[in-house]
């Protein structure tokens, strides 16, 4: 069971949050990610946030992939 999508947290009320993606909103439970804050992107699986996404890591990954592509795929 792996389907989890990145949603942006718009508001939090206790352990419940409202999150949004592409103009579609849905309620999300923060029981598994109590540290999540408004403005965070979380991975949501069956209505629960399972992780707060790390923006810095995402950007780093993309930077690396851009380098690989620029080298024509050859190790730099």
């Amino acid at each position: 069971m792996c389907l989890a999508v990145p949603l942006l947290i718009k508001s939090i009320n206790g352990k419940d949050a409202d999150a949004e993606m592409g103009g579609v909103s849905r309620p999300v439970s923060l029981w598994l990610t109590p540290e999540a804050k408004v403005g965070d992107y979380v991975l949501v699986h069956t209505g629960y946030a399972i992780s707060v996404l790390n923006k810095a890591e995402a950007e780093e990954t993309l930077r690396l992939l851009v380098e690989i592509a620029a080298m024509g795929g050859v190790e730099g």
Partner: protein
């Protein structure tokens, strides 16, 4: 940064494919253990982009497919109890048991309702106090903590008519079982991305250490999968066997500690029956004694009847990666998504369903 489109960029995909093609020299087989990866690999036509040195094979990663017939029969039996609402994820509805399916039981009058989340099942219990809700707990480490949370929420809100039938399973024990069986020579493992969000990449260290097999945790976007394969190729060509992460925006070494805590608070490991593999010790999750009043198996008495597997169905071998759907005599003749014989065809993540829908191993 919205974390989706960025990881589908075709220019970056081309870069990764170039790198894989240039660097892959050794013939190698990579196995993935996650139904979501099975689907993604087909959906993005990944096999087609890889050089002939790399073979991708699917392992037992679909939680519905690995559920035993006797468990499915129990689910149907729960639905036939008077005053019970069975709440389930959609994937379970059409899975054939020994004699019937939840969908058929529903057509015959059972109250079976599809939900997207355990929270929906909890609401159902709150709204129908004259009935009992039995939620079918299916899924690996990604889902089990959410079910655990729902039980704690039920306890907090003093909801007494919410129950869970736990068929949850743990992934590392089954990876070990498949490797120990040694039926398929595996040169690298695409580790499940969202399971690893919960368990952390540490869960796969035993594979690299004890079996000398490279492991890379992958996400589900095309760039994640290609990056994962690229990193596996690097390890193979470099003679290394380590655990690496190609999904660093979501996965870390320790995992989600809070989720692990909740899961262990509510569940304890138990032996579990995996379709096609048999009993794997410590690979299942059952509710702890403290939460027994939420445990459907302890609260209700059911008579599921004798369980048996359908003739000719080789789901078990497909699940272990020993055979592909094309090797199955029933595939696409008797067994189709409209009339499935085994769960690998009916589950949206099943290997056979993926082969059927996406046209099989298409190398152009």
């Amino acid at each position: 940064m919205k974390f989706i489109d960025e990881f589908r960029r075709s220019d970056l995909a081309k870069g990764l494919v170039s790198r894989i093609v240039q660097r892959s020299r050794t013939n190698v087989r990579f196995m993935e253990f996650c139904g979501g990866h099975t689907v993604a690999i087909f959906k993005y036509g990944i096999r087609q982009l890889l050089p002939p040195t790399i073979e991708m094979v699917s392992g037992p990663g679909c939680p519905v497919c690995v559920t035993s017939n006797s468990d499915i029969d129990k689910c149907i039996a729960f639905s036939q109890l008077p005053g019970v609402i069975v709440a389930t994820f959609g994937d379970m509805l059409k899975v054939p048991g020994s004699r019937s399916s939840l969908q058929r039981a529903k057509a015959e009058g059972a109250d079976v309702r599809m939900v997207y989340s355990a929270l929906d099942a909890l609401s159902m219990a709150r709204d129908s106090t004259d009935k009992s809700v039995v939620f079918l707990g299916i899924g690996f480490e990604t889902t089990a903590p959410t079910i655990a949370a729902s039980i704690l929420q039920a306890q907090e809100q003093k909801i007494v008519n919410y129950h869970v039938f736990s068929m949850h399973k743990l992934t590392p024990p089954v990876v070990k079982a498949v490797l120990d069986a040694g039926e398929v020579k595996i040169g690298g493992i695409v580790c499940p991305g969202h399971v690893s969000v919960i368990t952390g990449s540490q869960a796969w260290e035993f594979v690299a250490r004890d079996y000398g097999i490279p492991c890379v945790v992958s996400g589900f976007e095309p760039l994640d999968i290609l990056q994962c394969i690229s990193m596996l190729v690097e390890q193979v060509e470099g003679g290394r066997s380590e655990v690496e992460i190609a999904y660093s925006r979501g996965v870390c070494h320790e995992g989600n500690i809070e989720a692990q805590k909740l899961m262990h608070r509510v569940f304890q490991p138990s032996p579990a029956e995996w379709r096609g593999i048999g009993q794997v010790p410590g690979s299942g999750l059952k509710l702890r004694e403290k939460y027994s009043r939420f445990d459907a198996e302890r609260v209700f008495e059911i008579e599921p009847g004798e369980s048996f597997e359908p003739d000719g169905c080789i789901c078990g071998e497909v699940l272990r990666g020993v055979r592909t759907p094309h090797d199955c005599a029933l595939f696409n003749s008797v067994c189709t998504p409209q009339s499935p014989v085994g769960p690998c065809m009916v589950s949206s993540e099943g290997t056979c369903a993926a082969y059927y829908l996406y046209g099989g191993d298409s190398r152009g």
